[in-house]
């Protein structure tokens, strides 16, 4: 998030697109609802009539996978009606002409034909957005989990720059992160192209810096593989040794049959986890980890806040902290690592080696955490990024973005679009919530379908149905709901039985390699 949760309170207008906040980020949603109660205007764009829409002044029920067309349509109105922030665009951005050129191809009438939101509503949304300064834009995986995910993200940034909403309190582009420390895992360089703090592996100066700091030579300056390519590599034998730490890939990745084929192809696989799960069975070695509350460390939340996590119990059996496992492995390869606790790793390595965390030390985050960038020990942390429209790389660059449809669209044999997400009472593949009593509140996977489709197909609420795609078939209970529009099936990946990932399409955004969990073609029948 460029901005912070505390800024929800004073926001004048929210534009929430592809975020089912009340279920996926319930506490954040409470602050949004407070703001709406206090007079803020909420605009929601989502394929489903999800709970946030109850609080929305304007709701655009867009067709799955049409965000770019919809957002370009809005920007068309802003430009044609001269409603955009010319001063911000002139002073803080470049390539407006390129944006304009692409946006001009999407008059509201044309955009409406693609995204199935009326031209009048697109125009009304544009005018409403322009009438508030700033607008806080929030999104979640509804924007990113598409083959055009990166373009969707670019479009939200284009819109917020065009409206002059960047670098302002209660404005910005705010992706709410799905997992407790997914922000931290990125920040800590569990990514193939950067050292922690987003220092590029291809930069010779960074290579030298880390070789010196770690006391090694020969760090690779070649960008590594992203997860989907690793999985393919297991089949092609390009990747022979695979180490999975705390991810249940056999349930969480698209097209389970294919994923399991990849995992089964691994020559040697290590899985490090707290529970046996669908993935550990493919392992050659399983390493038992300390769980949450069994070690001292930090998580970084969506708003870049580094918070303490504390130990209150010892791990079961001879399970060990994860950093200890990596340190001991390094030792077996002849490397002695100095740090011997979460605090030593953070204070003496992480914070020292990345300018963004230079001022973050454990003694400063005993209570409320600090938001990076926080370069010095006196720095109070950064509540919102790009203050006064000053972007990290100079001027904000508009990116010309064209709409592309999902890789697989509905057809005669598979006439429904399957979209996926999360439910309030479960978390991911239930390794945690399934052992914390949450099954009582959501006991099985369901296929959410519209009332219209249920009537047409003679499907009753609670009845078992088949949902089938080109990749698989599941037998699940139908949940007939007004949340879902006709022509759509909505499911999650919480349960092994009826997991949506038996059906999802393993196609990815070409650059970010994010899978298209939000759209594939399925059929539903009894």
């Amino acid at each position: 998030m460029t901005n912070s949760f505390s800024e929800f309170k004073n926001a004048k207008c929210f534009f929430c697109i592809g975020t089912n906040m009340t279920e996926a980020h319930p506490v954040a949603a409470t602050f949004l609802k407070n703001a709406v109660r206090n007079g803020a205007t909420l605009i929601v764009a989502d394929p489903r009539k999800q709970p946030l829409t109850k609080y929305a002044k304007l709701f655009a029920q867009i067709k799955v996978g049409t965000d770019v067309a919809f957002l370009n349509g809005i920007m068309y109105v802003l430009i044609i009606e001269d409603l955009y922030d010319k001063e911000f665009v002139e002073n803080n951005c470049v390539d407006f002409d390129k944006l304009k050129e692409s946006v001009m191809k999407y008059p509201p009438e044309k955009a409406a034909g693609i995204c199935k939101v009326s031209a009048e509503k697109i125009t009304e949304i544009a005018r409403t957005l322009a009438s508030f300064k700033p607008v806080m834009l929030c999104y979640t995986l509804g924007i990113t989990e598409h083959t055009c995910g990166k373009n969707n993200v670019m479009s939200t940034a284009n819109l917020q720059m065009l409206l002059g909403n960047m670098g302002k309190e209660s404005g910005g582009v705010n992706p709410l992160r799905g997992q407790n420390n997914v922000q931290g895992a990125c920040d800590m360089a569990a990514l193939p192209n950067v050292y922690h703090g987003y220092q590029k592996v291809t930069d010779p100066a960074m290579k030298e810096k880390f070789e010196k700091a770690w006391g090694v030579t020969g760090l690779s300056d070649k960008v590594g593989l992203m997860m989907p390519d690793m999985m393919e590599g297991l089949v092609s034998k390009k990747v022979r040794g695979f180490w999975i730490f705390g991810e249940n890939l056999a349930n969480s990745e698209p097209d389970i049959s294919h994923v399991e084929h990849c995992l089964a192809s691994a020559e040697f696989m290590v899985v490090q986890d707290i529970f046996p799960n669908e993935t550990t069975k493919f392992a050659d070695v399983i390493l038992p980890s300390a769980a949450w509350s069994e070690d001292n460390g930090t998580f970084t939340n969506s708003e870049r806040r580094i918070n303490r996590v504390r130990k209150i119990k010892t791990p079961p059996g001879i399970a060990k902290p994860n950093w200890w496992i990596f340190k001991e492995t390094a030792k077996h390869f002849g490397h002695e690592w100095p740090s011997n606790s979460g605090q030593e790793i953070w204070d003496n390595e992480i914070s020292v080696l990345a300018p963004a965390y230079g001022g973050v030390k454990y003694h400063r985050i005993e209570n409320d955490g600090l938001q990076w960038p926080c370069p010095t020990i006196e720095h109070p942390g950064t509540k919102y990024l790009y203050k006064d429209g000053k972007f990290s790389h100079g001027k904000g660059i508009f990116k010309s973005v064209e709409w592309t449809p999902p890789a697989e669209v509905e057809d005669k044999d598979f006439p429904f679009v399957l979209s996926t997400g999360r439910r309030l009472y479960q978390y991911h593949t239930r390794t945690q919530t399934g052992r914390a009593g949450m099954d009582a509140l959501y006991k099985e996977e369901t296929a959410d379908i519209s009332i219209a489709d249920a009537d047409r197909l003679g499907i009753k609420h609670g009845e078992k149905v088949y949902v089938e795609s080109r990749r698989g078939k599941v037998n699940v209970t139908a949940r007939v709901t007004e949340e879902v529009p006709a022509g759509m099936v909505w499911m999650t990946f919480h349960y092994r039985e009826g997991n949506a990932n038996w059906l999802t399409n393993a196609v990815f955004d070409p650059e970010t390699k994010t899978a298209e969990y939000k759209a594939c073609a399925v059929n539903v029948y009894k």
Binding site: R240, G241, F245, G246, N307, T433, G437
Partner: protein, 349 residues
């Protein structure tokens, strides 16, 4: 501005109430409906005080201070009035502390203690309100409810879930869920905000009923293991057992609020399914192994693969739920020891 409370000259800010300033200066005034989060209701009347120049007793939670105000919170008149309120509350409910979850953390108990009330002077005979056990995680004992309205306010205006309200009238007033449905059948999402703010033992968490007395638990602040909001939790810990979780009031980013998973989803760490020892697969079956053996095998296999096919023949996926220090260590292993950048995680799922 300056005000005088019980003879003490005190600095106060515009907009503050008598109660806020008295509490901030270490002067306790019994109060049950007021909570920082839900604001003043002026409802329970336990917080009455005398204000010079104002007729009758004033509810200190709702009167804003004015410069030069002179306030008495401990006169006999005040104490008698407060005593009457607390006595009537004790009289009109089943406030049997012995096995009440809230014992030791009960604001009604605190008020009675402060005012020296040993037991209620009268006891209504007809109290037999419905106990609601229908919810998975929340237990509602209406006989202990003092109708302070904190839960109603919290549900509707703090977390805006709009489930709890007052039903019926007069002596029969009680909290209801939706259209007087059992809580477990209502639209309640079990965030537990009502339980966190209930000043007595009327709404409590089911998971810790009978597990630990309040004073037996240590409070440890930590961060929630679920979504990316990063709510601050207070773990109530007895030995190594989490017995209860509350939100840390006034903390960023959640200001004490939690969701159902954050408040009640903690006990997976105690599951009997946990992996407790390294395991090595032999002939398709896993067998227990020591760390030395398991890490030795990894040294051998990864070492051989790297030697034969180069560093890029190994790859790793880190965990988006574990701590920063773990992800840092894993990528350090892959980069500095294995010499590959083949390290990623499920950032995109």
């Amino acid at each position: 501005m300056k005000v005088t409370i019980n003879g003490r000259l005190i600095e106060a800010k515009e907009g503050q109430t008598i109660l806020q300033v008295a509490l901030a200066n270490g002067m306790y005034i019994p109060h049950l409906c007021y909570h920082d989060k839900v604001g003043a209701a002026g409802k329970c009347r336990a917080c009455v005080v005398e204000v010079e120049g104002m007729r009758g007793l004033q509810t200190s939670c709702s009167v804003q201070l004015r410069d030069g105000m002179v306030i008495n919170t401990d006169s006999e008149t005040v104490k008698n009035a407060q005593k009457l309120v607390i006595d009537l509350m004790l009289s009109s409910g089943k406030h049997d502390c012995l096995s009440c979850e809230q014992n030791g953390n009960c604001e009604l108990q605190d008020a009675a203690y402060f005012l020296g009330i040993e037991r209620a002077s009268v006891q209504y005979g007809d109290i037999n309100r419905e106990t609601d056990e229908s919810s998975e995680f929340v237990y509602v004992e209406r006989d202990k409810c003092i109708s302070c309205g904190r839960c109603v306010e919290a549900c509707n205006n703090v977390v805006v879930n709009e489930v709890i309200n007052f039903g019926n009238r007069g002596h029969h007033t009680e909290i209801v869920f939706d259209t007087d449905l059992p809580m477990g059948q209502s639209t309640c999402v079990q965030c537990g905000e009502c339980s966190q703010l209930c000043p007595v033992g009327a709404i409590v968490d089911k998971k810790n009923k009978g597990v630990a007395r309040y004073w037996e638990t240590q409070k440890v602040r930590t961060t929630c293991p679920y979504c990316g909001v990063g709510c601050q939790l207070e773990l109530h810990v007895k030995g190594e057992q989490i017995v209860k979780v509350t939100g840390v009031e006034d903390a960023e980013p959640n200001k004490g609020r939690l969701c159902v998973k954050g408040r009640y989803g903690y006990d997976f760490i105690y599951s009997k399914d946990r992996l407790t020892t390294p395991l090595i697969k032999e002939n398709g079956q896993f067998r227990e192994a020591s760390w030395e053996e398991a890490l030795g095998l990894i040294r051998e296999k990864f070492g051989k693969i790297i030697e034969e096919s180069g560093p890029d023949a190994v790859a790793g996926v880190s965990c988006a739920r574990s701590i920063n220090e773990d992800s840092y260590s894993m990528q350090k292993l892959f980069r500095s020891v294995f010499k590959t950048n083949n390290i990623d995680h499920c950032a995109r799922t």
